[in-house]
């Protein structure tokens, strides 16, 4: 039965699939821009690209959002605050690292720049580019939707607990845990 009706993509058989359908079709990103990529992120929301078509609207409060798009260079000083925003978001949540800077420090291998946001926040999708075009961002969002469909519900909390067991206290304080 599942496969016969499932053709349209919205009639599903298990609760898990229904949930995952709801979640991937209502991904609300947080309105947070860090640098250049934020402009392209705004373009993705504006007239030509319009990610509202996919059911994505920007919410200003992290409590009401599902996706954190790290759009731009994360410097050391802003890292703890970004981590705080991430912690304020309720599960299930996802993180997209947009652009070279957020993914790996990009062209800024300097004293003040965090070399990759995945050192403080677990990242689901990396989007290359400096900055990525809005098409690139939309592709990343679609990839995230695919990931949610395939992985069902992600549970970072559990994995994170496991991970914390192996770490020294000073390291934990460093990443703001």
């Amino acid at each position: 039965m599942a496969s016969s009706i499932n053709g349209n993509g919205f009639i599903t058989t298990t609760v898990d699939e229904l949930l995952s359908w709801g979640r991937r079709n209502a991904l609300w990103p947080v309105t947070i821009g860090l640098a250049c990529c934020a402009i392209e992120m705004m373009h993705a929301a504006a007239s030509r690209f319009d990610i509202d078509r996919l059911g994505m609207i920007f919410r200003a409060s992290p409590r009401q959002a599902d996706v954190l798009i790290v759009a731009g260079t994360v410097v050391n000083k802003v890292a703890p605050m970004l981590k705080l925003i991430w912690d304020q978001m309720p599960e299930p949540k996802w993180c997209i690292s947009m652009g070279g800077c957020a993914s790996a420090g990009g062209p800024f291998p300097t004293y003040s720049t965090l070399q990759g946001v995945d050192r403080i926040i677990p990242v689901d999708v990396y989007i290359p580019g400096c900055p990525p075009t809005p098409q690139g961002l939309i592709y990343g969002l679609l990839e995230l939707q695919r990931k949610i469909r395939e992985k069902k519900v992600t549970r970072y909390e559990k994995a994170f607990e496991e991970f914390k067991k192996d770490l020294s206290p000073e390291l934990l304080s460093g990443i703001g845990v």
């Binding site: 392209e40 004293y111 070399q115």
Partner: protein, 586 residues
Amino acid sequence: MPWASSQTLDRIKHAFRKITIDTQPNFVCLNVEDTQEITNILKHLKDIEDFRYFIDFHVIDFPKEKDRFLGQYILVNPYTFERLAVKVWFKSNKLPTAKEIFPGAKWAEREAYDMFGVEFEGHEDVKRMFMWEDYKYFPLRKDFPLGGIPEQKLPSLTEVLEGNTFPPSHDYDIMHTYVPNMKDIEKTEKSRITKKGQLVLNWGPLHPGTHGTMWFLFDLEGEHIIQTDVILGQLHRGMEKIAENLHYFQFLPYTDRMDYLSAVCNELSYVQAVEKLANIEVPLKARYIRTMFAELQRINSHLLWLGTGALDLGALTVFLYAFREREKIMDIIEGNAGFRLTSAFLRIGGVHYDLAKGTLEVAKYFVKDFYSKLKEYHGLLTRNRIWLKRTKDVGVITQEDVYQYGLTGPVARGSGVAYDIRKIDPYAAYDLVDFDIPVGDIGDVYDRYLVRMEEMYQSARIVEQCIEALEKMPENEPYVNKKHPAVIPPKEYVFNDLEDMVKSFRIVVHGENIPKGEVYSSGENPRGELGFYIYSIGKSSPYRLRIRSCSFYNLSVFPKVIYKHTISDAVALLGSIDPVVGETDR
């Protein structure tokens, strides 16, 4: 801009016997021997010689000299438009503050403290400008490495959670520079403001209304702000340090990422400074192309200001309409440079590519269409009563503020100061086109709004004239001065000509040495005067490159103007100052 004339210099020399004058083709400065006398000299320059427009203060580090640091003020006479630099050598914690004479120096001195560890006598709050309190180093000193000092183990969480693979998904160093925790950040916050009112509101750093990652601390009495401080550095990427470690041509793409809304204008300011230093002639076609793209970029940038400014004040749809036009401009830029936002289209000595086929037709059509779109924006906002209520008589910046805080661009022009580098020191092809400078009257938010709207119109006019001139030019006119030894030949020559290939290879790998000297050169960005000061010691990379950021100085007036206004006014004022964090923090 003409530098200070010999008569002026003579007069100053007459007043102060002890100073020496150093005149270079693109740089004129006074050398002050005695650090204690600097206050008197600045006062004299300001009051008697009318050098009252504060442009910049910065420091250069010479670890091997007797007096380690060289402080440098750049001042402008706003009546004759003469520019003058004042140099003073000092050891750390020796320089008296210039804060009393030029309030704009307050932030510049904070920055100097943060980056070099120099202290200022009489400056009551020398705090970290970009880094957090308790940060141990002074990054722009010559003995500090570009990459910082790794001292913390930070593994990639993705790798930890999803398992290691072989070969590793990441190629990275597990040791990282120190990342502060919330305690450090809280300490930074506490050090800035002592609570006087009812509650302290953190406005930012990750807030939809603050144009990026600015962090404002508002001390509120009701909704009225009685004390403000701005914490910057949430996007401090170390641009000036990077520049010291790269060849001249390699730094060009970084300028795009400073004020990421006006990439071409940034590039233009930068290449111009290097061209002046290395004495490179630019062909006429390249000059026109540069002007055209800089003006398109200016429209682009102002459209973003219009959209976000209106969005901040609640007009949601203007934002989308502005972005609709932005897409068109970005298409023109993308078609020529190959990239939308951070285009890296200009090159030292010219432009990277010749104009793409059809560019002129598209640009022509765009400009024709743009006039009607501009009318649409006016129709939505200019006479709107709510818009008037929110912007009129809000955030008044006086002419005196403009001079003392070193405000430039539309902020200065909104207050009636007709300071536009395009007119007073024409670069690119601005001396060949005809345009007007709009000036405001009282300097409130509404005036700045009108000034920017009119500037868009004038930019469209300039673009039209450039198109006209470019259409008349023959097809194979050179667009880059490839004869000069410091200019990388364009790709089409590199692929076809052995000599050019070797030259390109040599410059790309080893860089080309630029003659010794100093230059301060600036361009009129959409946000104000973006200046580059380059101190060259004859190597292929600058000894010191100082970026005179317009947003940084424009923002410095914010705490003063917002006093006793409400949070809603703060939004309107910030929107009208229109800072870009990439540039304030660099």
